[in-house]
Amino acid sequence: MAFIEIQNLYKCFKKVVAINRIDLHVQQGEMLTLLGPSGCGKTTTLRCIAGLEKPEEGDIVIDGKPMLSKGFVPPSKRGIGMVFQNYAVWPHMKVISNIVYGLKIQKLAKPKIKEKAAQVLALVGLEGLEDRYPAQLSGGQQQRVALARALVGNPKVLLLDEPLSNLDAKLREELRFEIKNLVRRMGITSVYVTHDQAEAMVISDRIAVMDAGNVVQLGTAQEIYQEPANRFVADFIGTMNFIPGEVVETLKDKDAVYVKTEFSPRLLCHRINHTSDLSGAKVYASIRPEDVEVFPDPPTHMENLFQGTIIHKAYLGNFLNFFVRVKETMIRVQVPHHLPQGEGQELYLFLNPEKCVILP
């Protein structure tokens, strides 16, 4: 049984459906990320887990205890720690008072409070700053206070809502790893919200991609990147060429199909979930720019090889970006090495059938 079970959760604000009956399981000790574009319901899901929002339907079970179906359990009784997007570090209290606030409510003994506070301060690297007011701290330090406050009570569950979004890029990358290591070390089950795909891929064990109140795909970073469930996921995580077409033939073991596109009568594509005969279906043959191989001269005997014209070429330091026109279709290509061809010149593209997937 999963540590956090979100069952058929439904939440709307007046007419706006924020979460549309989602199911989600988080395993003990796992770090799950909710990833998705702005307004897709990530924060709302997190706030439902925290108990800061009351969903209309569904249940949330934390460590075997239902939070909704057997009477609403208020946030204060859920045993969670939470890091808010804007930190929400109380400005009228010193760092130390911020951190021990929850411990005092639990009526822990004074020496115990002191000990725990010292531990967590060392853990997040805030030693020596305990007597400052938040206004006297940098953004990153305030962030650490928020983290310390969430961790100090040994919560069963840690919830983080875009904790790094207010920091500059450099610090963000640093703290990503820091948070990941810390949470791993403490073994806390955690749910992390972000709309930054790189952050999600670095920090989480599994990612739940959300769109318009639905979880559209759940899996590890690799699964989601390599085998996106639909066009939305493929587009949101990295970039993808979408080539519209129609399935003309499904191969016998059903793990590959031929697709008729504008530039090719038979484009061989890989299938991810191969169960049915798709012949006649309108699909998108999809391939990531870095999976397209390029050749200055045509190699012999190769399927899925097409001639195209370079429309645009851009140098980006560690790789080259091309827009190549094959007949009337524009295909984005990314290569890690130098190519002498310039704009207007010809090129051969190999759309590797193993990497070229069809998406509805």
């Binding site: 925290a50 800061l52 208020p74 946030p75 204060s76 009784k77 859920r78 969670i80 720690g81 939470m82 808010f84 997007q85 804007n86 929400a88 570090v89 109380w90 400005p91 009228h92 606030y101 929850g102 409510i105 639990q106 938040p134 206004a135 928020a146 406050r149 969430a150 009570g153 207010n166």
Partner: protein
């Protein structure tokens, strides 16, 4: 730094020096004069603080201030919370009613409550009729009545500041506490309320200082042993008794010093801890709570209680204005327009004077306020911050102190007080901050690049001001204009020292009618007239779209 700006600054400083600094320094100097000699010394102060009567007066005033602050806080905190956080019907109406006293003249409330809560007032008579009580209950004559009447008048200052605080603090501060396990009261007292202290304090200091300013309410209730009332009585009625005169002047200075120092202290404290800058803007509209039916009912009853008390003021004065011989009866029986006929026939000058003096004061206010706002917001002329500071201080300055200092400064030295122009000038000096603050805050919102674009196009500074800035500022300026007019229109504390026969304004007329023991009905009718005029002006503000509350608050406090 252009020369024009420097000249402008010098001009404005000259005006401030002549109409504010000069009279005030005369007041202070006078308080150090040793009577009967040409020497200076601390004698008056020593005498003042040795005299048990004046010490008692000082103590009384402090006591009243404390009780007033306590009462307004006890009522104001829940009220502000309900208005800011509960989702309920009629929010706008309740808010407007509860905040109304801010624009009503203080004396209107006193008269209304004497009629309603007095010994043989409506409430006592009704209760005796029903048989609940046999003897009339003393509802208002005494310290408790004073606290009650002043509290109702000052409650909006607490409610306005706090409810803005409750609305504006970032919801996640409280949510974080909720997650940490703090529920209900604990969260409110450890997080919400402390975060709102700056907004609370801004209003609280004005509440606390009110008993050091309001001489009229104690006087009408027959409780004269408070500093401002003593100042007024000593100076107005015993000017020839040198000892009492000097004690009055010292009392005035002491009040003013208390007001200014507490005001500065509060400002310093608020500046020191402004929490607002820390929270990054969130999308939500603050935390709106859906109260349980029981709590909601309680909230309604509570709000209605305050709203009814406020509504009593115009209603009772209205009843009184349209009737005569309303005594020993719970409600008037004889309806007439006689009161208004008397006002128009016998003292039409009052209404005319009120409009004339406030109008001229307003012209002064605009002529001074617009350039001052420009100078403070848009330039770096040296001394502009000091200018802003002095003008803001006038908010806390007791009206009595302005009146007495004008009396001293413009009577013998510069004989300005022999001409009626002293009346609008004094109103101008007293209400100086109201227009300026409004112009100031709208100026802050005006993007400087709009003006710069005009200058780049070749328009000079003055032309840019009139063709670009002023039209864009118009709304804020108009609201400031009306607010200034309302505040000048009901001014009495300063004017009462300066008027001579024929210069009486409506508030003075009201006071004199009460004081000379003439018929109460006429005073009530005049007060009612003032309320009606104030209402019309408020309508104008809301038509301009400035928002009455913002006008009152923006002009007053922030």
């Amino acid at each position: 730094m252009s020369r024009g700006n420097v000249i402008l600054a010098a001009l404005l400083w000259a005006i401030i020096a002549f109409f504010v600094l000069y009279p005030l320094s005369i007041l202070v100097l006078e308080s150090f004069k040793i009577s009967g000699t040409d020497n200076w010394g601390l004698n008056n102060y020593v005498e003042f603080f040795r005299d048990t009567y004046y010490l008692k007066t000082f103590g009384n005033t402090l006591l009243l201030s404390t009780l007033l602050l306590l009462t307004t806080t006890i009522f104001g905190v829940p009220l502000a919370y309900i208005l800011a956080r509960y989702r309920h019907r009629g929010k706008t109406v309740f808010t407007a009613l509860i905040l109304l006293p801010i624009v009503l003249p203080a004396f209107a409330g006193v008269f209304a409550f004497i009629i309603f809560f007095g010994k043989y007032g409506t409430l006592n008579l009704l209760l005796m009729d029903i048989g609940i009580i046999e003897e009339p209950v003393n509802f208002i004559y005494g310290l408790h009545g004073l606290v009650f009447i002043q509290a109702l008048h000052m409650l909006p200052f607490i409610v306005l500041g706090l409810s803005a605080g409750f609305t504006n603090i970032d919801p996640s501060f409280e949510e974080a506490a909720e997650v940490e396990g703090a529920s209900g009261f604990r969260r409110f007292f450890t997080i919400t309320l402390p975060l709102c202290t700056p907004s609370y304090l801004a209003g609280a200091v004005l509440v606390f200082l009110w008993p050091f300013t309001d001489w009229l309410t104690p006087l009408i209730l027959g409780q004269v042993d408070f500093l401002p009332s003593v100042s007024y009585i000593n100076i107005s009625y015993h000017f020839t008794d040198v000892h009492r005169k000097y004690m009055g002047i010292v009392a005035t200075v002491v009040s003013a010093v208390v007001c200014i120092s507490l005001f500065l202290l509060a400002r310093w404290w608020v500046e020191k801890r402004k929490y607002t800058g820390l929270s990054k803007g969130t999308t939500s509209e603050g935390r709106v709570v859906e109260p349980s039916p029981f709590v909601r009912l309680g909230a309604y009853v509570f709000m209605a209680f305050i709203a009814v008390l406020v509504l009593l003021i115009p209603i009772v004065l209205g009843l009184s204005a349209f009737s005569r011989r309303w005594v020993f009866e719970p409600f008037p029986t004889y309806w007439t327009l006689e009161n208004f006929r008397l006002i128009l026939l016998e003292s039409p000058g009052l209404v005319k004077n009120s409009f004339l003096f406030s109008g001229i004061a307003l012209l002064f206010g605009i002529a001074f306020g617009l350039p001052a706002a420009y100078l403070i917001v848009r330039t770096r002329v040296p001394g502009k911050d000091a200018l802003d500071f002095v003008i803001t201080l006038m908010l806390a300055f007791p009206g009595i102190a302005v009146g007495v200092s004008y009396l001293l400064a413009f009577w013998q030295g510069i004989p300005l007080a022999t001409h009626w122009i002293i009346m609008p000038l004094a109103l101008f000096a007293r209400r100086l901050p109201y227009f300026l603050r409004m112009a100031h805050s709208s100026y802050l919102q005006l993007d400087p690049s709009l003006e710069e674009a005009s200058e780049v196009s070749g328009a000079g500074k003055i032309r840019t001001f009139f063709s670009i800035s002023l039209p864009l500022l118009l709304k804020g300026v108009l609201v400031g204009v009306v607010m200034f007019f309302i505040m000048a229109f009901q001014e009495i504390s300063t004017a009462i020292f300066l008027y001579r026969g024929g210069w009486e304004t409506l508030p003075i007329g009201i006071y004199l009618n009460w004081h000379r023991g003439m018929e109460f009905g006429i005073a009530a009718a005049m007060a009612f007239l003032m309320i009606v005029i104030t209402f019309i002006l408020l309508m104008i503000i809301s038509r301009i779209g400035g928002g009455v509350l913002k006008a009152a608050w923006g002009a007053g406090e922030n």
